[in-house]
């Protein structure tokens, strides 16, 4: 019989949906044809082309964020079978089905799988995650730096603000103001730069207050979920040491 698809391989997905930030949550299931090398993004794109649930109900296509599709931009972070990761590198062949997709839970939902992660960027402002420069005019070479320090900085600088570490962190929540591993690691990144370190004290002061480094409960899950294998726990330990010294300095100098 034409249309009999008993022998055709399919992919089953179960997706958590929400139309608006405060509207009710509901689940829908989809079944799409299997292809080689499918990732979660390709499945979502398939749903866009045929927005029909497994029950045959025609629905709005699922919405999600993505851009580079090669785990470099950080956009497509979501919970896949309960684990926080990027949807582009989540290959169907290595996932149990139905593949369960949910938005991250530690950030406000915008719609379906889209969340608002602007808090991460606000935190970067709080800790002055930049190098102060005199100007963009040509004043010659940058500071000399050993390749060892460069390599340490590069590992930290690969952070794409995806938010995996914060999603997994037991301390970070929708309602508190904990800065989180990504932010601490950026403090370390800029304190390691010869001219960036000129703002070192201001950065450390920013992570010493409420929501700062002392609120970290050392659960160490951040480092486990980081897709870029950034040494986040080392960063936390290092910033811990830097703030201790800063505290002592503050006592004796003020």
């Amino acid at each position: 019989m034409k249309g009999n698809i008993v022998n055709e391989k399919t992919v089953k997905l179960k997706i958590k949906r929400q139309d608006k930030p405060n509207s009710k949550i509901y689940w829908q299931e989809f079944k799409i044809p299997y292809k080689e090398r499918l990732n979660v993004i390709a499945c979502l794109q398939d749903i866009q082309r045929n927005p029909t649930t497994q029950l045959g109900e025609s629905v709005n296509p699922v919405t999600w964020d993505c851009n580079c599709l090669e785990e470099t931009c950080g956009s497509c972070t979501m919970l896949i079978n309960g684990k926080v990761r990027q949807a582009c590198t989540a290959l169907i062949d290595s996932l149990e089905q139905p593949v369960i997709l949910e938005p991250m839970s530690k950030f406000p939902v915008v719609r379906d799988l889209q969340v608002d992660r602007s808090r991460m960027f606000e935190n970067l402002k709080k800790v002055k995650a930049w190098v102060e420069i005199d100007g963009t005019h040509d004043i010659g070479e940058g500071p000399i730096m050993s390749d060892k320090v460069r390599s340490q900085r590069y590992a930290l600088s690969e952070c794409m603000s995806c938010g995996c570490c914060l999603e997994a962190c037991p301390q970070f929540s929708l309602t508190n103001n904990f800065l989180g591993a990504a932010t601490f690691s950026q403090v370390r990144l800029f304190n390691l730069h010869p001219s960036g370190s000129m703002l070192k004290e201001e950065r450390l002061d920013a992570v010493m207050g409420e929501g700062g480094i002392t609120d970290c409960g050392n659960a160490q899950v951040c480092v486990e979920v980081c897709p870029k294998s950034i040494p986040l726990t080392e960063s936390i330990a290092d910033i811990g040491r830097q703030t201790t010294l800063q505290t002592l300095k503050n006592i004796f100098m003020k």
Partner: protein, 646 residues
């Protein structure tokens, strides 16, 4: 003009938008950055291998003049020379600035910048941060913009889409129409100038190395509003990418810059595992054909050779249209340090580790050399007058463009590691000229009637309403795939007029079917579908520009390869012969026996072809069609001559 601060609207938060925004803040003006998503996530992050600057850190005798020549030659002499020369001379200062703002560039033993090799040059000219250079540059510039955000001179409108320019009764751009992608409301923003730093149009082909935002819609909308579009048919096909159902992922040219070798088994259909094929049974086809440049020939050349190997010689791996990119002779530590970023991508998507087994790669749509036509002013000495309001100006007054969205830096083929440079160069360079433009205006945006803005807003509100009301049979996302298939099959590496004619008919058919779309989502919050349908409309229009430019250009230049018009360069030809020939011709007669057999004929063919085709393609939207005309190219510095890389 009233003594308020100048206000410039920058569309796009990639390298061009960020570097321009940084410069505007520094000059004490206001800037609004409009971005489709969070700033850190623009497509510039996908650039991998590095950024060129002839600092000559390795004492190889490199110079900005060499960089200029390599770029012009790489682009098959189709780029305006003073612009490229100015860019290459500014490049060292740009790299130093990037280093100062904290980019984690790889370093030498003494702690200076390290450089590596890239395609189309014999010098080590490419500064790099592992294999994620674009990402590292975006982050550093984003941090500088955030620094100004901190003190209030930047406004960022993330999750906003540019719909079109607000044009006054004289056709001057006075602001932008934007859509908030969360509330889906449309509004206008007034500004003294608007800059499109919106990147390339890879999504016209659907599958490319580009990101999902790269629809080219903003630039196309400028074209639909009357701006000229230049060299649309010049689309770069990158030789090395990996296949996927959603995208073709780039494997950086730096893999070859660091010693990677392309090869196929000598025997067709040889299905043995690559490591068990002995060296003598491997065909290192680029090294064999191009002993001088080897694996580092420019991208247009490498992609054509791969195409020839797999489709004409049928030597693709196990009969598939793929070849090996082999790094396994390099140490694991070296590869992790220099290429870790791409090695991870390859591993994550294929399950294989390029440190252990050769990668299987294929060519993919990568970059548009063409883009919005933009102007420039030469200083008369082979450089650019940086304060000129003409620099980077589109043909709509008050609307500027830079980065991949413009057309003028890469000619017929871009050299690797020049895109990051041209993006940052245009961003930094255009600032002064825009300020001059604003100072020169008789009438400021403050004097423009509010009805101009009201009308623009109404136009777009009703346009989106019309789209939402579409209740036809076609799914927009499916129609997009079909557009991509058409472009992919006929407007790629090899182009033939008969097939291009069919392409144009097929695009027209897509355009007809567009009218029968079904807007599959009509909700009123964070609804991406009406927006996508509008982008699809733009992609269809842009594909017509690309295809029409391609069919009309009857020659072979750079990435535009029409075998029918290949001038067939003799194998022992030396490009300097052409310079001799021109000199001899200048002095009078050229004796038939002055050159090896066949060379004089070839040079005459080359000369005649340049007379016909060494010109920029200009597309203008008239009567619902692209109308094509041609403009001369500024070749005032080096004489165009045949390219040769062997």
């Amino acid at each position: 003009m009233a003594k308020r601060k100048k206000k410039i609207i920058v569309i796009g938060g990639g390298l061009t938008g960020l570097s321009l925004a940084m410069k505007i803040c520094e000059r004490n003006a206001e800037v609004v950055i409009v971005s489709y998503q969070s700033l850190k996530r623009s497509h510039s992050v996908c650039a991998q291998g590095g950024i060129n600057a002839a600092i000559d850190a390795r004492n190889e005798g490199d110079s900005p003049e060499n960089h200029f020549y390599d770029t012009i030659k790489g682009g098959d002499f189709l780029a305006h020379q003073p612009l490229v020369r100015d860019m290459c001379y500014q490049a060292p200062a740009i790299i130093h600035l990037l280093d100062r703002i904290g980019v984690a560039f790889n370093r030498t033993g003494e702690g200076h910048l390290e450089f590596r090799r890239f395609g189309g040059t014999l010098y080590s000219r490419t500064a790099f941060a592992g294999a994620t250079t674009g990402q590292q540059l975006v982050y550093a510039l984003d941090e500088q913009v955030r620094r100004f955000q901190h003190d209030g001179s930047v406004e960022t409108l993330e999750w906003h889409e540019y719909l079109g320019a607000v044009l006054d009764s004289q056709g001057i751009c006075r602001g932008a129409v934007l859509q908030d992608l969360r509330t889906n409301t449309v509004f206008t923003l007034a500004g003294d100038a608007v800059v499109l730093a919106t990147g390339g149009p890879g999504q016209v082909y659907v599958k490319s190395t580009n990101s999902t935002v790269n629809t080219g819609a903003a630039a196309t909308m400028a074209y639909l509003q009357g701006a000229k579009y230049g060299n649309g048919e010049f689309i770069q096909i990158h030789p090395t990418a990996i296949p996927g159902p959603d995208k073709l992922r780039l494997m950086s040219e730096s893999a070859r810059g660091e010693g990677g070798r392309l090869w196929v088994p000598r025997k067709a259909g040889d299905a043995r595992p690559p490591k068990s094929i002995p060296d003598r049974e491997r065909n290192y086809f680029l090294e064999e054909k191009f002993p001088l440049f080897g694996n580092l020939v420019p991208r247009d050349v490498a992609s054509r050779e791969i195409h020839d190997i797999v489709y004409n010689q049928h030597l693709g791996i196990a009969g598939e249209p793929m070849v090996y990119l082999d790094l396994t002779h390099k140490s694991r530590e070296f590869l992790e340090d220099r290429l870790g970023g791409i090695i991870d991508i390859y591993k994550k998507f294929t399950g294989d580790d390029p440190k252990d087994v050769p990668m299987k790669i294929l060519p993919a749509v990568h970059y548009s050399m063409g883009g919005l036509w933009t102007d420039y002013e030469s200083d008369g000495n082979g450089m650019i007058e940086h304060g000129s309001p003409r620099n980077q100006a589109t043909s709509i007054p008050g609307l500027y463009a830079g980065g991949e969205a413009d057309y003028q830096y890469h000619g017929a083929n871009r050299l690797g590691a020049n895109s990051l440079l041209s993006c940052i160069y245009t961003g930094l360079m255009m600032c002064r000229g825009i300020f001059t433009y604003i100072d020169n205006q008789d009438k400021s945006v403050d004097d423009i009637s509010s009805t101009i803005f009201g009308d623009a807003k109404n136009h777009w509100e009703s346009r989106l309403k019309e789209i939402k009301a579409m209740k036809g049979k076609e799914n927009p996302y499916q129609l997009h795939i079909e557009l991509g298939d058409i472009m992919m099959s006929n407007v790629l590496i090899v182009r033939e007029n008969k097939k291009l004619e069919k392409t144009i008919t097929a695009i027209d058919d897509i355009k007809t079917r567009f009218k029968d779309l079904n807007c599959v989502d009509t909700s009123d919050w964070a609804n991406p579908t009406p927006s996508f349908i509008n982008q699809l409309y733009c992609m269809i229009e842009l594909s017509r520009v690309i295809a029409k430019g391609a069919i009309m250009r009857d020659e072979f230049r750079g990435a535009h390869y029409k075998p029918e018009f290949d001038l067939k360069q003799p194998s022992k030809f030396d490009p300097n012969e052409y310079i001799d020939y021109l000199e001899k011709k200048n002095d009078g007669e050229v004796p038939e026996n002055a050159f090896p057999k066949g060379h004089l004929d070839y040079m005459k063919r080359f000369e005649a072809n340049n007379k016909n085709w060494l010109k920029s393609t200009i597309a203008e939207y008239k009567n619902d069609k692209p109308e094509i005309s041609y403009e001369p190219v500024d070749t005032s510095i080096v004489t165009p001559r045949p390219r040769k890389y062997d």
